[in-house]
């Protein structure tokens, strides 16, 4: 049995749902459903969709690989200055995406500090490539993962990690076998947030990676382009994006990320 939810909470909850649902419903109503299949099946749209899904998936992986360690470091170390670092992580959250894209361009572009080094030493040029899309999305989406994980880490406390240490587990083992598994529900949320943010990324991508069909033009870019010429087809594409995203998240979200573990033995 679960704890009951206060009835009054249903009022704001339904309001909140309405705020989310009604506009989208309005959008659907306004859509010319007859044209929909043709619009969606357009090759450009499908290629954009495919690109969006692959890049968002890749940047979500990058977010997890980089963001989980960062969250753990931020939540579990007591070095002075961690408070400042915590604020630093928020930078990409606040930066207007276009400016974020510019910042990446200034760093990784041909004339950028790192970009120049890469170009000269390895002949690698990042902008205008699919890799640039992934980088832009990761830059923008990672803070969502880090911040939500950090909250969960600090909320959960570290008693199990301490138990693991007394059992001889070195920090890496503790991380792998205790911290991460116990973090799974929060990680699930964080992955959803960063995947969604990456999938919807527009400003930083266009600024840093450009927009070339099949290479860097993700679905949001395609939507924007369409919206300049034909709003209806832009809306249709957005609906496609929504449906795909919700399907991906609802289906692919591993069950393991769903459940919580009841608190330790005996406390029924």
């Amino acid at each position: 049995m679960r704890a009951g939810v206060p009835r009054v909470l249903w009022i704001p909850a339904v309001l909140a749902l309405a705020l989310v649902l009604l506009p989208v419903a309005g959008l659907v109503v306004r859509t010319d459903l007859a044209r929909l299949p043709r619009l969606i099946a357009a090759p450009a749209a499908l290629r954009a969709l495919e690109l969006s899904l692959t890049t968002a998936a890749m940047s979500t992986v990058a977010c997890v690989l980089l963001g989980v360690p960062l969250a753990v470091v931020l939540a579990r170390t007591r070095v002075r200055g961690v408070r400042v670092l915590r604020a630093v992580v928020l930078l990409p959250l606040v930066l207007p995406p276009v400016v974020g894209g510019l910042a990446l361009l200034y760093l990784l572009g041909r004339n950028g500090f790192l970009g120049y080094v890469l170009d000269v030493t390895a002949g690698v040029r990042v902008p205008f490539t699919t890799a640039a899309v992934v980088i832009a999305q990761t830059f923008v989406a990672m803070p969502f993962l880090v911040v939500s994980l950090e909250g969960a880490l600090r909320g959960g406390g570290d008693s199990y990690e301490r138990v693991a240490a007394t059992l001889g587990a070195r920090p890496w083992t503790v991380f792998r076998r205790v911290t991460v598994p116990l973090l799974l529900p929060a990680l699930g949320s964080g992955v959803v947030l960063s995947f969604a943010r990456a999938l919807g990324e527009f400003g930083a991508t266009i600024t840093f990676a450009g927009s070339l069909e099949g290479v860097t033009r993700t679905l949001p870019l395609e939507v924007y382009a369409q919206s300049q010429a034909d709003v209806d087809s832009a809306i249709a594409l957005s609906l496609l994006l929504i449906v795909v995203a919700v399907l991906v998240i609802a289906i692919a979200r591993p069950r393991a990320l769903e459940g919580a573990y009841a608190s330790g033995g005996g406390g029924r």
């Binding site: 572009g109 041909r110 205008f128 450009g210 927009s211 070339l212 870019l221 382009a225 300049q228 010429a229």
Partner: protein, 226 residues
Amino acid sequence: GDRGVPLNVFAAASLAESFGALGRRFEQDNSDVDVRLNLAGSATLAQQIVEGAPADVFASANESTMETVVAAGRAARPAVFATNSLTIVVPAGNPRDVRSLADLTGAGLTVVVCAPEVPCGTATEQVERSAGAELTPASEEQDVKAVLNKVVAGEADAGLVYVTDATAAAGKVDSVAITEAAAAVNSYPIAAVEGSAQAEAARRFVDFVLGSAGREELGRAGFGTP
């Protein structure tokens, strides 16, 4: 000025600077009016006006978006108040020695242009066609500022932007005039919005933009005159 009735001018974002100046000058002459600019992409503005936005004046960056507003019955008799045409921009000093559109088709040159869906992209296609040059751009940007930024950042070796954009970025980029630019002159129409609560002031503002003051400010930004 903060006093006076608000006059909502929905203007294409590329007009930000000129219309900012024009608005201030108009307020000096008409102390009863407080000009408020709503700056966004032309398509967005048109969409807002069609959806009943409280616009008094609409200045669009292309004629097709104005047409959708006219078609929706929210504007009548638009007049062209400025024109714009494409130019090539290259990083300052023109390191790759670009002289014409044809030079951009060569291999090894990173060129960015506007996407065909947006007005500057349509113009680019027209220019290409009339010059008989086929560009293979590294990117088809969603708006002209994105093209400009790529060149300013040195990421692209060349880009096609409006003369006004090149003017605004003078010093950071050099521009190379396109002889075929005349093939795709972009017209900027302005109209008072139907059903405006400030119909009279709106008409006065439209006239002001079409008049000598407008010509002066717009000319300063690099716009052509119709």
